[in-house]
């Protein structure tokens, strides 16, 4: 992914900042500029998510996506945030540890790198929330 393309959503990725429709009280992460509920009438504002949520479903990836080859096996999940929306992220734990319904919390981690000398992409991954 190009530097500007990543940079443009840097705050959303680093700090789990999404959006909220003030009219419908719907929350969006990844952020949306238009509320799919009311479409034109909505008023969208930024919203910082706590990042607390639970695992809806998951997989353990053994054949990696390009650029992720040295991370296998890695756990990928869909996480439903407490405020409502769901997102896709890696879950940092042992493959045997992850369960549907497991509570998770966010951590700031390296996502990847654009080649050997390219930009490092940082963002949010999740870990089991044991508290």
């Amino acid at each position: 992914m190009s530097v500007p393309r990543f940079w443009r959503k840097q705050i959303a990725r680093y700090n789990l900042v999404g959006t909220r429709c003030k009219k419908c009280n719907e929350y969006f992460y990844p952020p949306r500029n238009m509320c799919p509920g009311c479409r034109r009438e909505g008023e969208i504002e930024d919203f910082k998510f706590t990042g607390k949520g639970e695992v809806i479903t998951f997989t353990v990836i053994h054949t990696a996506a390009e650029g992720f080859e040295n991370q296998t096996p890695y756990v990928l999940g869909i996480i439903k945030l407490n405020e409502g929306p769901s997102l896709t992220s890696q879950i940092i734990c042992e493959p045997e540890e992850v369960k549907i319904g497991m509570k998770v919390k966010p951590v700031f981690r390296k996502l990847g790198q654009a080649g050997e000398r390219g930009m490092i992409y940082y963002g949010t991954k999740f870990v089991p929330d044991l508290c």
């Binding site: 393309r5 990844p30 998951f58 890695y74 549907i100 996502l111």
Partner: protein, 390 residues
């Protein structure tokens, strides 16, 4: 709106075709379909070509013009040719656009084709190209792969409905059984449940034999107004319904991870248009890019209750000779999945079945068939119903 018929069909061989280029396979399919229809080139009014990613697979865009050119329809006749893209549903969508052109009354003889040449790049590059059918910015960047997305569907399906890995494996076994009777199929070798379960894990719970392969191939059909179809063929196959639906691009935004709502919506629209129900369908080609995808499709199109797709796959209801034969061609799993071609290949299979030309995989007395083509993890679905009777 005019009724539309399919008057000619052709699939190339599906597989790894090192000696043949993108344009080679497309021209073979197009010429084959035109010859099958007995149409002369001068009669062709327009072409629609499904292609997911010529840009990434063969570094070639402007696919419509390229194909018109190498089909001999560009230089003198200047036949309009349009590329259509909806990831793995590109072929189904090209067919749908062709049907629109004929139904509208603007065009009479139309070619709907689909093609993909996937083996000119190394397989990691091909996987990356395919991953672009998902949300690059919010799925791909986190390390999601296509098998990974469908694995998450499978995991939740197992959790909610008790679906078993053995049931997924039965889908692959059945499709490889059918594929061995299909001359164009990429894999003509039977599989066993044990060999599927013993194959390497790609994205838990999906093994490599739960996944469709990377394939080169092309398919084409010739469309005509139903009123003149008999001028070309004794057995025109009529289009009873064409339907399409959209859903969220990312899997995580779906209403229910285990249901492809786009498949449900497209299926419902198709049944309404054809004035039919699931029990009227004699056979169906569904989009089994992964074994779990066939199980979801069976449910989402109304051939079983939600959650029972694995059970009906296990007890033989989807086999040739069963209650509702699914993927007599071998499906994407065994016949192969040249992504842009698949939606058109499904229609070719149904047409051949309804004509009674399918040899050892023939469904006896088949009168009405359905095709179901999905883009991405379910953001686009295209459903067609085809019939011997107008």
């Amino acid at each position: 709106m005019r009724d539309v018929a399919i008057i000619g069909v052709k699939n190339t061989n599906f597989g790894e075709q090192w000696d043949r280029s993108f344009r080679d396979v497309v021209v073979e399919a197009g010429v084959g379909a035109v010859e099958d229809a007995g149409v002369v080139g001068e009669k062709i009014d327009s072409m629609f070509v499904g292609n997911m990613s010529g840009g990434q697979f063969v570094e070639q865009e402007h696919i419509g013009a390229l194909i018109a050119d190498y089909s001999g329809l560009a230089k003198d006749m200047h036949v309009p040719s349009t590329r259509v893209e909806a990831a793995c549903a590109s072929g189904g969508l090209a067919l749908r656009q062709g049907i629109y052109a004929v139904a509208s009354g603007i065009d009479d003889i139309v070619i709907a084709a689909g093609a993909e040449k996937m083996t000119d790049v190394p397989s990691p590059k091909a996987s990356s190209a395919l991953a672009a059918a998902a949300d690059r910015e919010w799925e791909g960047i986190m390390g999601a792969t296509f098998p990974g997305l469908y694995a998450m569907i499978a995991r939740l399906h197992m959790h909610k409905y008790g679906t078993k890995s053995e049931q997924l494996a039965e889908v692959a076994v059945k499709n490889h059984h059918n594929g061995q009777f299909n001359p164009i199929a990429q894999y003509k070798s039977p599989l066993t449940v044990d060999s599927v379960l013993g194959s390497i894990m790609v994205a838990d719970p999906l093994h490599i034999f739960d996944c469709s392969p990377i394939t080169d191939g092309a398919s084409a059909v010739v469309l005509a107004p139903a009123d003149i179809a008999h001028e070309y063929t004794d057995t025109p196959i009529y289009v009873k319904a064409t339907a399409q639906a959209s859903d969220t691009i990312a899997l995580h935004d779906r209403r229910d991870i285990t249901t492809l709502d786009a498949s449900v919506a497209a299926g419902k629209r198709a049944y309404e248009m054809a004035k039919m129900e699931p029990k009227d369908i004699d056979l169906v080609e569904v989009h089994d890019c992964f074994t779990i995808a066939e199980i979801c499709a069976i449910e989402d199109l109304g051939f079983s209750k939600k959650g029972e797709g694995g059970i009906v796959s296990m007890n033989g209801e989807t086999a040739i000779g069963g209650r509702i034969p699914v993927n007599t061609s071998g499906g994407l799993k065994s016949c192969g999945h040249p992504v842009g071609a698949t939606g058109v290949k499904q229609a070719v299979e149904i047409v051949e079945q309804l004509r009674g030309e399918s040899g050892k995989r023939q469904v006896d007395g088949a009168e009405i068939g359905m095709t179901h083509n999905v883009g991405g993890s379910g953001a686009t679905a295209v459903v067609h119903i085809l019939s011997r009777d107008r």
